[in-house]
C-alpha cells in the first residue's frame, strides 16, 4: 500500500524547498475540489472523454505532489475514460475522494 505522500520523492521533486512544498500544498487544497467536481460531473453524464481529461489533470497534480496512491486511483479513472468503460467509475471515484481527503489532512498537518 502506497503512503499518502512519498516524502522522499516529494523532497526530490521540490529540491528540498519546504516553502515551495507548502505553496504547492496550499494551491492543491484550493484547487482539488473543483478537479474532483469535474470528474464527478463526467461520471454522472457518462462523458468518457471528459473523464479522461479531468482525471488526467488531477493525476498530473498528484504526481508532482508524490501522492502516489491517489495518483494511481486518478489514473484508473483516466484509463476508464480513455477506454470508454465507465461501469465501475463511480466506485473508483469514491476511493479517489477519500484518498484526496486523507491527502488534505496530511497537507494541513505539514503546515500548508
Amino acid at each position: 500500500m502506497d503512503k499518502i505522500v512519498d516524502e522522499t520523492e516529494l523532497n526530490e521533486i521540490m529540491d528540498n524547498d519546504i516553502e515551495l512544498i507548502k505553496e504547492c500544498f496550499n494551491d492543491f487544497i484550493i484547487e482539488y475540489p473543483q478537479m474532483l467536481s469535474d470528474i464527478k460531473k463526467a461520471i454522472k453524464s457518462q462523458d468518457a472523454s471528459h473523464l479522461d481529461t479531468s482525471a488526467h489533470k488531477l493525476k498530473g497534480s498528484l504526481k508532482y505532489l508524490a501522492a502516489k496512491a491517489a495518483a494511481e486511483i486518478a489514473y484508473q479513472l483516466e484509463y476508464m475514460g480513455k477506454n470508454e468503460s465507465l461501469d465501475k467509475s463511480q466506485d473508483i471515484y469514491i476511493k479517489l475522494e477519500i484518498e484526496c481527503q486523507k491527502l488534505q489532512a496530511f497537507m494541513e498537518a505539514y503546515g500548508a
Binding site: E9, E12, I13, D15, C24, D27, G60, S61, Y64
Partner: protein
C-alpha cells in the same frame, strides 16, 4: 563535478528553453528549481507553436499528455518547422514501448514524470552542450568554405 565543468555549466544555463505542460504546478516547480535558467512557459501545444514562431528558441521540454495538441503532435510539428530544435519529451508512462515511440517520432531525449531537478538539469545540459558543439562545427565548416 570539476571547477571547469561548473564554469561551462553556468554559461550553458543562459540558453533559453521552452517548457510546455498543461499542469500549472509543473511550471511552478520547474521555475523554482531551475532559477538560473531562462524558461519560457507554454500551457498547450498550440501556445508553444505560437511562441516558437516569434522566438529563436532551440530547446523545448514538453509533456506528452495534453488536451488538444499532445506532446507527440507538437514534437512532429516542431521537427517539420525546424529539425534543429531539440525536443525533450516528458512522459507519465512507464511503458517502454511508449518511450521508444517518442524516440521514433523524433524526440532527442525523454524523461519520466514527475520531473526531478537533477534529471532535468542533466538532460538540459547534455542537449545544450550538443547544440553548442553543432554550432561550433557548422561555423568551422562555413569559415573553411569561405577561405577555400
Amino acid at each position: 563535478m570539476t571547477t571547469d565543468s561548473k564554469g561551462s555549466q553556468n554559461n550553458i544555463s543562459k540558453i533559453p528553453f521552452l517548457f510546455v505542460d498543461d499542469e500549472p504546478l509543473a511550471h511552478k516547480v520547474i521555475k523554482k528549481n531551475l532559477k538560473d535558467w531562462n524558461i519560457t512557459s507554454a500551457f498547450s501545444g498550440q501556445e508553444a507553436m505560437e511562441i516558437l514562431e516569434t522566438n529563436p528558441i532551440q530547446l523545448v521540454v514538453t509533456d506528452i499528455g495534453m488536451p488538444g495538441m499532445d506532446g507527440i503532435e507538437l514534437l512532429q510539428q516542431i521537427k517539420k518547422k525546424n529539425p534543429i530544435i531539440q525536443v525533450i519529451i516528458v512522459s507519465g508512462s512507464e511503458d517502454i514501448a511508449d518511450l521508444i515511440s517518442t524516440l521514433e517520432a523524433g524526440a532527442n531525449d525523454f524523461l519520466l514524470k514527475p520531473l526531478k531537478k537533477n534529471e532535468l538539469e542533466d538532460a538540459l545540459l547534455n542537449t545544450v552542450s550538443k547544440i553548442k558543439r553543432w554550432k561550433k562545427t557548422m561555423k568551422e565548416i562555413f569559415i573553411n568554405k569561405r577561405n577555400n
